[in-house]
C-alpha cells in the first residue's frame, strides 16, 4: 500500500507518503497565498525522497476542509485528477481530524482552525481518533461557553487566547497525521468522506440591486 496525502485547507501546504505502516516522507510549508504554486513541487519532493514515482501510489487521501475556499480547492482538484489518471480511490478526511490525530490527546478536546473574518472552524472530540460533532464555523466568543474547560488545538485556538485559555499545538495541519489516520481507518475498514469540499459557508454572492436609475431625479 502507498498512500499519498495532501491537504491545502489551511495555510499549510502539506504532503505525505504512507506505506500502510509508517510515514515514508513528508513536507509542509506554511504560505496561505501560494497553495497553487507549492503543491505539485511538494508532491514531487516527497516522491523523490522516497525514491518512488507517482504510479506506485495505490490511494489518495485529501483533507476536505473546512477551509477558506480558494486554497482548499487546490488539494481537492489535484487529488481528484491524480485519482482519475491512476485509477485509484480518493479518500476524503475532515481536515480537523488530522489536527486531532496529531495532538494525540486521550480525553475530550476541541480543534479550531482559522476561518478568517474573525471566525474559527471547529469540532469537538472525545479523543484524538473520535470526532463527536459536525465541523462548524463560528465567532470564538460565541462558542466560548461550549468549549470551556477543555484544551483547544490548532491555529484557531492560538489566535484567540482570550477565548481559548488552554490553547495547544500543533498549530498547523500535517499530512503525515492525515495519512496515518487514513492508514488506520483503511485497516479497520472504516468509512471516509467523499472528496468534496466542506465550505460551511454560502458563496459570497451579491445579488445586484434592482436596476438603478441613471438619470438624475
Amino acid at each position: 500500500m502507498l498512500l499519498l496525502a495532501v491537504d491545502t485547507a489551511t495555510p499549510a501546504v502539506t504532503v505525505a507518503l504512507h506505506d500502510g505502516t509508517d510515514v515514508v516522507a513528508e513536507t509542509s510549508q506554511v504560505d496561505a497565498r501560494r497553495h497553487g504554486e507549492l503543491l505539485l513541487p511538494a508532491v514531487h519532493k516527497v516522491l523523490a525522497e522516497a525514491g518512488l514515482k507517482l504510479d506506485a501510489v495505490t490511494g489518495l487521501v485529501v483533507g476536505v476542509g473546512p477551509g477558506p475556499y480558494t486554497g482548499l480547492r487546490v488539494g481537492l482538484v489535484t487529488a481528484a485528477t491524480f485519482g482519475s489518471v491512476l485509477g485509484v480511490p480518493v479518500h476524503g478526511l475532515c481536515t480537523l481530524d488530522g489536527l486531532a490525530y496529531a495532538c494525540g490527546i486521550e480525553g475530550p478536546f476541541v480543534v479550531a482552525t482559522d476561518a478568517r473574518r474573525k471566525e474559527v472552524y471547529w469540532a469537538r472530540y472525545d479523543d484524538f481518533r473520535t470526532r463527536v460533532s459536525e465541523p462548524s464555523v463560528d465567532r470564538p466568543a460565541d462558542i466560548a461557553e461550549q468549549v470551556a474547560g477543555v484544551p483547544v488545538v490548532g491555529a484557531g485556538a492560538l489566535l484567540y487566547p482570550e477565548v481559548f485559555p488552554d490553547a495547544r499545538g500543533p498549530e498547523h495541519q500535517s499530512s503525515a497525521a492525515l495519512a496515518s489516520l487514513a492508514a488506520e481507518r483503511l485497516a479497520a475498514g472504516a468509512e471516509f468522506l467523499p472528496p468534496t469540499p466542506l465550505y460551511l459557508r454560502r458563496p459570497d454572492a451579491q445579488v445586484p440591486k434592482n436596476y438603478k436609475v441613471v438619470t438624475p431625479q
Partner: protein, 366 residues
Amino acid sequence: MAADEPLVLGIETSCDETGVGIVRGTTLLADAVASSVDTHARFGGVVPEIASRAHLEAMVPTIERALKTAGISAKDLDGIAVTAGPGLAGALLVGVSAAKAYAYALNKPLYGVNHLASHICVDQLEHGPLPEPTMALLVSGGHSSLLLAPDITADVRPMGATIDDAAGEAFDKIARVLDLGFPGGPVIDRLAKEGDPTAIAFPRGLTGPRDAAYDFSFSGLKTAVARWIEAKRRAGEDVPVRDVAASFQEAVVDVLTRKAVRACKDEGVDHLMIGGGVAANSRLRALAQERCERAGIRLRVPRPGLCTDNGAMVAALGAEMVARNRPASDLELSADSSLPVTDPHVPGHSHDHDHVHEISKENLYS
C-alpha cells in the same frame, strides 16, 4: 490530419465555463464544456465563488468526457495546455491545479497559455493556420481588444482596448434595463432582427477625430440608452424594445467594425479575425463581412461555439506551442488573473535550476 501533428489537451476555467478540448495540430477532436451560467443568471452576472465551486465539481468529469469523445488515450498526448490568465483568480486556480496534476501524472509537458491569445488561435481549428500577421478583434463580456498577432505563440501586440465596459457587459446591462434577463447578448441579437437599427441615434463612443483610434468606450452608450428608456417610461410611453435593441446593437457593432477595419488598413494587414462571445452576434458578423469586403480584407470568424470560452482554443494554442518548440511551463506555474496579453504563454524559469525540472526527463511509467 497528420499523425505527427501535436496532440494536446487544453483546459479553460477563466470564467464560468469549464472547458476541456483536445486537438491534433489544427484539427479539433473534442470540445467538452460544462457551464455554470444558469446558476449565475439570477445574480445578473458571473459570481466568482460560484464559478470556482462549479469548476471543481466539473473538472475531472469534463476531462474524462473530452478524452472519450476524442477517442484517444491520455498517454498519447504531447502536452497539456491550460489558461494561466487573465481571468477570475479563483476560477483560474482550479484549472491550473488540475492541469499541473494531469501533466505530472502523465509525465507530459505543461503549457500555461494566455486566454486572449487562445481566443485568436482557435480560428486555426476552423480556417486552418493563421496568416501572419493577423489582426484580431476580441469581444466578450470580459474583453474588448484589438490585437495584432505577428506570431500567436510569441508576439501579440495590443492595439487598443475598452477604457471602461467590455462590449458584452454593455449587452448584459442594456438587457437588464429592458428586463430581458442574463446573458443579454443572444436576446438582444434576436430582438434586434425585428427592430430598426436607425430608429434611435445612440452615440458612438471614442470616434471623434482626437480620440484614441483603436480604443473603445461603451459606458457612455450604455448610459445614453438607459436615459432614453427611462425618459420613455417616465412619459408613460411604451418602450419600443426591438428598436432600442437594434439601435443599441448597431452603435456597438458600428464602432467595433469601423475601428477593426481601420487598424487593418493602418497596419497593412489583410486578415481580420473576430473572436469572443460577442462574435456570435449576427449583426457584428454581417457588418464586419460587409466592411471587410469593401476594404479588401479577409474576415475569419469561427463558429459561435468556438468564439465563447472553451477548452479547444486553449488546446489549439498549446498545439502551436508544441509545434514551434516553445519552452514548457514548470510546476510552479501560477494562475495570473491579470496576465498581460503580451505574454502568449508562461515559460518556466529554466535558468534557476530546480529539482522539478528533472521530472520531464523521467518517465513515470518506465
